[in-house]
């Protein structure tokens, strides 16, 4: 069963009156998301991630293409669809002088909750998002992390089947980010919610997502599991060496070495296969009288994939 089935979606924004300029945000994007999965949309700034997310969430209408979300057409059947999905943004904003509990209750009423059902739901979400101490705090007085938690609580008020998270950990302290990521993973594992998220943090995508779609200039350039993407891009392995003396000019020209760069006192060599190339490199360095103080080998990270694709 698909939660999202989008084909050939385009969106162009126009601005200006006298000399209108057109910016193509999406150029024929197709995306399918199976139910119960977490899919990440990755890409550089201005790639079209938020535009795609907004179309899927019915906040923006596409120029062309077909988009079905939870079986509903996002344009013709938007009103019914809105009851079944929700969204939280990494740059949340709610009415300043409303208190945390009042914000969650306001959205709860819009989704048809009232009386004791509404009170129970608000209590449950305030506990889940660790907002108990701030329940009566006006929104304007909350820290960034607390505001993000309010956004998450609001996004769960209707127990959505599909949740869109736009940069959910943007600007959060590391410990809070870890807790938010744990919440997100729990939402899928415990409630079976399908989640589509955009993020700039590769570790977050690697940790949370079953699949990743990489968007650039309004097109999906690559799609797959994090491991598949790393394999498909053929980035090779990274051998990091701490050498004495630290600079070895010929290392980049050695057989099987794709590129070399100095990073914080280490020389990082990307090679076509670490198992095959490491013994050769160590032998060559030893023959030249260069001492190897330390060695690390790692597979490419999603960040390397991102850099490669964004190039």
């Amino acid at each position: 069963m698909l939660a999202i089935d989008a084909h050939d979606v385009t969106k162009t924004f126009k601005s200006g009156w006298l000399r209108p300029t057109r910016t193509a945000a999406l150029r024929g994007v197709s995306l399918t998301v199976p139910r119960g999965t977490i899919v990440g949309l990755l890409g550089p700034n201005g790639a079209g991630k938020t535009t795609l997310l907004s179309i899927l969430a019915t906040l923006l209408t596409p120029d062309s293409g077909s988009v079905r979300v939870l079986g509903h057409d996002v344009v013709r059947d938007a009103a019914r669809l809105r009851r079944r999905l929700n969204m939280a943004s990494g740059r949340p904003s709610f009415l300043w002088s409303l208190r945390v509990g009042e914000i969650v209750a306001f959205y709860g009423r819009l989704y048809g909750l009232s009386g004791s059902k509404l009170r129970r739901r608000v209590d449950e979400l305030i506990e889940l998002c660790e907002l108990g101490a701030n329940r009566r705090t006006p929104y304007s007085e909350l820290s960034t992390g607390l505001k993000q938690r309010v956004a998450l609580a609001k996004s769960l008020v209707n127990d959505p089947e599909l949740l869109f998270l736009d940069e959910p950990t943007l600007g959060l302290d590391p410990d809070v980010s870890v807790r938010v990521r744990r919440h997100i993973a729990d939402l899928r594992s415990q409630r079976g919610i399908t989640i589509v998220l955009t993020t700039h943090y590769m570790r977050e995508a690697d940790e949370l997502c079953d699949e990743i779609a990489f968007i650039k200039a309004g097109r999906i350039l690559a799609r797959g599991t994090p491991a598949e993407l790393k394999r498909r891009i053929r980035l090779g392995d990274v051998i990091a060496l701490r050498l004495d003396p630290p600079a070895v000019p010929w290392l980049g020209e050695a057989p099987g070495v794709l590129r070399c760069r100095a990073v914080d006192g280490w020389v990082e060599c990307t090679v076509d296969g670490a198992e095959k190339r490491l013994p050769d490199l160590l032998r060559a360095l030893s023959a030249e009288g260069i001492a190897v103080r330390n060695v690390r080998v790692r597979e490419p990270e999603l960040e390397d994939v991102f850099v490669e694709l964004a190039r």
């Binding site: 924004f13 938020t50 906040l59 809105r82 009851r83 002088s97 409303l98 959205y107 819009l110 989704y111």
Partner: protein
């Protein structure tokens, strides 16, 4: 959408607007300061100019109507303005809420504020100028207030449409629009004194008819035939038109991306 869900969505907006109003420092100025200053200054002017009691009541009815329309239409405009100011518009329209819930919920709060204001100004008018605005009886007062509230609703919804169409730039309409009504609807003078083309425009404003009908209770000959029926009929037409404009403006904002821009 079931009736229960419809009512709950309207109630959500009522609670939200009421909470925001109760925490807004400008609430005091909107509800008390400006209206009281308005009635006192106009009332004192009628004394200075030695107007007859009938003439004074004509002008004071206009002042009271202006204050009520102003307070109520601002509350309707807040349906969108509050979210524009706090950049939360996208959350609003991501939820299953229709424009009817937004405008009706905020109108209910506006009517409550307008009703309280009317009673305050009625008491002030009686105490300071011996002007008995409630003298025509509760039914006539209710029809007059309904006319003011309907006009406020219409103006407020048009303001919401303009904001959804042009963004924050249209914010000034929220405060300016009521002054147009002031000039055209004959708040301080009968519309018959207006030059012909302007008088025709005045005749297209529902408030003109409700003022005409209410002033008839104070001894002024009505300028229009069946003013209440005409005022109500015009109000229905304008209310439908205003809601259509607001709906179309929101659809356009979804197309152009303005809905998202106003949330950034």
């Amino acid at each position: 959408m079931s009736w229960r869900a419809e009512l709950l969505a309207v109630w959500a907006v009522v609670v939200r607007n009421a909470l925001m109003a109760s925490r807004n420092v400008f609430f005091f100025f909107e509800l008390l300061f400006w209206p009281i200053v308005g009635v006192l200054s106009i009332g004192l002017m009628t004394r200075f100019l030695h107007l007859t009691p009938a003439q004074a009541s004509f002008v004071l009815i206009g002042t009271i109507a202006l204050s009520i329309v102003n307070v109520c239409q601002l509350e309707v405009a807040y349906a969108v303005l509050l979210d524009v100011w706090s950049k939360s518009l996208k959350h609003q329209f991501l939820a299953p809420i229709g424009i009817r819930h937004l405008t009706l919920g905020s109108w209910l709060v506006g009517m409550a504020r307008g009703g309280v204001l009317f009673l305050l100004l009625a008491a002030l008018g009686w105490w300071a100028f011996d002007f008995r605005v409630l003298a025509p009886g509760w039914l006539a007062v209710a029809v007059f207030l309904l006319g003011c509230f309907l006009n406020a609703w219409i103006v407020g919804v048009f303001v919401c449409a303009l904001i959804a169409l042009f963004g924050n730039r249209a914010e000034a309409f929220a405060w300016a629009s009521v002054n147009l009504v002031l000039v055209l609807a004959g708040l301080y003078y009968p519309v018959s004194v207006l030059p012909e083309p302007v008088a025709t425009v005045a005749a297209a404003i529902p408030l003109t008819y409700f003022l005409d009908a209410y002033r008839a209770h104070f001894g002024f000959a009505p300028e229009f035939r069946a003013p209440i029926a005409t005022g109500l009929a015009l109000s229905v037409v304008y209310a439908a038109l205003a809601h259509w404009c607001f709906f179309a403006a929101i659809q356009r904002a979804r197309r152009t991306g303005l809905l998202l821009k106003m949330s950034e």
